[in-house]
Symmetry: C2
Subunit: 509 residues, 2 copies
Amino acid sequence: MKRRISPLIIICILFTLNVRAEVSDSIQKIRNYRQANEQKIVKEFMELLAIPNVASDSANIRKNADFIAEMLKRRGVESRLLEFKDTPPAVYGELKSPTAAKTIGIYVHYDGQPVDVSQWKSEPWKPTLREGAVDSKSIDLNSASGSLNPEWRLYARSAGDDKAPISAITAALDAMKAAGVSPSVNVKFFFEGEEEAGSAHLPGLMQQYKDLLKADVWMLCDGPVHQSRKQQLFFGARGVMGVEMTVYGPTRALHSGHYGNWAPNPIALLANLLASMRDMEGKILIPNFYDSVRPLTDSERKAISEVPAPDQQMRGELGLAQTEDNNASMVERVVSIPALNIRGFQGGNVGEKAANAIPIEAKASIDFRLVPDEKPAKVREMTEQHIKNQGFHIVDKPPTPEERKQFAKIIYLQWDDGYPAARTSMDLPESQAVIHAIEKPLGFQLINMPSLGGSIPMYLFVDVLNTPVIGLPIANHDDNQHAANENLRLQNLWDGIEIYAALFTSLQL
Amino acid sequence: MKRRISPLIIICILFTLNVRAEVSDSIQKIRNYRQANEQKIVKEFMELLAIPNVASDSANIRKNADFIAEMLKRRGVESRLLEFKDTPPAVYGELKSPTAAKTIGIYVHYDGQPVDVSQWKSEPWKPTLREGAVDSKSIDLNSASGSLNPEWRLYARSAGDDKAPISAITAALDAMKAAGVSPSVNVKFFFEGEEEAGSAHLPGLMQQYKDLLKADVWMLCDGPVHQSRKQQLFFGARGVMGVEMTVYGPTRALHSGHYGNWAPNPIALLANLLASMRDMEGKILIPNFYDSVRPLTDSERKAISEVPAPDQQMRGELGLAQTEDNNASMVERVVSIPALNIRGFQGGNVGEKAANAIPIEAKASIDFRLVPDEKPAKVREMTEQHIKNQGFHIVDKPPTPEERKQFAKIIYLQWDDGYPAARTSMDLPESQAVIHAIEKPLGFQLINMPSLGGSIPMYLFVDVLNTPVIGLPIANHDDNQHAANENLRLQNLWDGIEIYAALFTSLQL
């Protein structure tokens, strides 16, 4: 049987050929250094990956911070730990340019998601090099001679998310030194230690070290490159907020024969409420919900049209005959409009466990994805107003017996605070400078995403530090981030080294 | 603190006084016998309750059948087991009247619901007499002298559902013999052994023994008396049918940020579908759903208006400020209109387990309660047509990858066959005769329910045996049927003895 070669693979091959052809002399020197030192680079990265890094594991998380601070110091970066309350310390470092007045900030996080060891092929903190997919042969790094196969992958928690940039940055600094090139800007490093635990202390920490963190532009280095494997920048991220909803029926489960048609069914109440909030095509029906949505700029529209559209491929891969709006691309949808996602609905039982009963309650869990300029407080207000308009009495704790007897329809809402979206204009001089600093020496065009569909607190850089922020990911898109068998493809690490070197040596702010 | 006496308790007291005052001489003799033999009656009942009676436990279920056949034989009833395939045997018996040409049939079931022993205060098949509620003191029957407190309760699986009638019938026969009164009709007993397992073989068994089961009226002896503790007859039951629904999203769970607004959310699809099928007030929105509903007769309307309305009390007890239609009583609603109950909805996760993901599927489980003259096949047809009209492609097994790529919205439906409602006219001579045979000697008015809200296959007596069928329950309404700590209040057993004696000795068909 012949296998068809996907158009995507062809694009990747063309792109790879292209990238290899046109790099600047400086970047060629960086590449030469890397090619001569691949084992050494991977070995140091494996040492970093071997330190368990769940934010709640205070002892180990501090070991990570110390280790990283040392890695920076070895490269001549003045580094120290920024302490804030009981939170994992942030690693801070400064690399001064002999000539420049401007400063770029580099944000990375060094903590990782908790692990379910039973799901991992090799242990999450025993970094393992493999020939490719998780079931491929493992490789002893010490016995690998010459250049490493760039399709090999390194398996470990945070290999992709988000220790990869740390390894790429330190290797880039080594390569710059070896190549005799100096930074064109001052560089500040700020590596957070509780991102995967929710960054609860990041606003306070940023506020406390506001002066230290002053920069002309911040790069948020996290996440994967485009699914087409092309390098990308992202200029924003959607905001997020969630709410848990509980709707009440009778205080005990009732026989659906004896009481059906009489006692209210909480599942039916909640299903109807949700249907009143969004339709089958994802349109949010809460009045005025789209009013404050910031329209796309011309640059953003152009950038979206230039992103390779994964729609067709992903529809096939995911078994979807149709998406919520077949007339708009995935990128356009996730960048420009807010989403109301129902992440869970639980009430009564289905299948073998289903009983002919009216259940006592039904629960739904929702996450909103916000776009600029929606404010979480306003979203909450509009949502609650809509729910009230459907006849519900809202409570902020489980209802008392008195409330149950007083109000026909009661809903208990538990909001999380959430945070707003951010979107840095691509037209800013800083944005253009960053794009050029990467594209010119590397000889390729970046994909410039006006925003991620996902949420990261980019707004903090804008709101607390008053600085434009741009996202720079280097991990492979299929790195199993947050899941078992997280991995980094070596070529993504090699590419990362060149991108950081380009940025540090070519950026003119 | 003073406790208010509920109006219901006052009704009960008045009723109790009333019942005690006006019974016929024959019934007074029956009562005298019972009062003199309470220990003996309860002791034999406890022996019956001590035999485990889950239908799938073949050895024990047959022990029950043998034991019951013996109980009947001891009372001069010709009895035998009716075998049908591998199903638990039915116990059949005939009591011939020396004078009558007409025959009444008595249906009871002797099997019980499965048990979760850990939830029981005392073991389900170690019958335990207690002073009242499940946490009250247990009583050694042998040390109880004189008459037993009628508020004592006997705890065991099937104490209420549905061995109570067997004990009441055999005690009534003993009492009739002691009182020297003969039956006014021939009586046929037909005790099923797999009702709680779904009566799958009952149609076949009835068909096979159709001639043997010929009678002029059948009494279906199951269920509880009215919540007011008044005795009642029910002339019908709602039909029932169920469907499990599964709606599909992407083939793997997707990040709600990266894919929210693009990939369809199966919970949202299903919530919208359910909302299109019924509204918050229980109105079924499937077109033509109410077209074949048989209107209530004048007698039925009158009977409904005479049923003590438990609405106000139950609203308080269940914490309901409002029911689906505050302008109609519970009885009117459950007797006269069909219900669409959502018994379960499951998709994704809520609360602590909620992940920001678009889940792969959502499931709902529905039960319909049907009224005459709705046909299950037609209900299925209308429901499927409605679902198609909402844009869904219906499959009868999980969809293939090809189907998923072809159809935008797919729903997998798993129907159970279900069965229709039945409602015997109260105006039939047989109905009137049964009412009078109980009311006259016992000196009280029955509550005559045109139908139960719940479902039992009364239609079989009508469809297979071509015989009117009337329901006669004796258990207390709070007997925990189907649940742990099932029990029978002794007064309900005493009342049952008198009712059966009245029926056997006074019925004139």
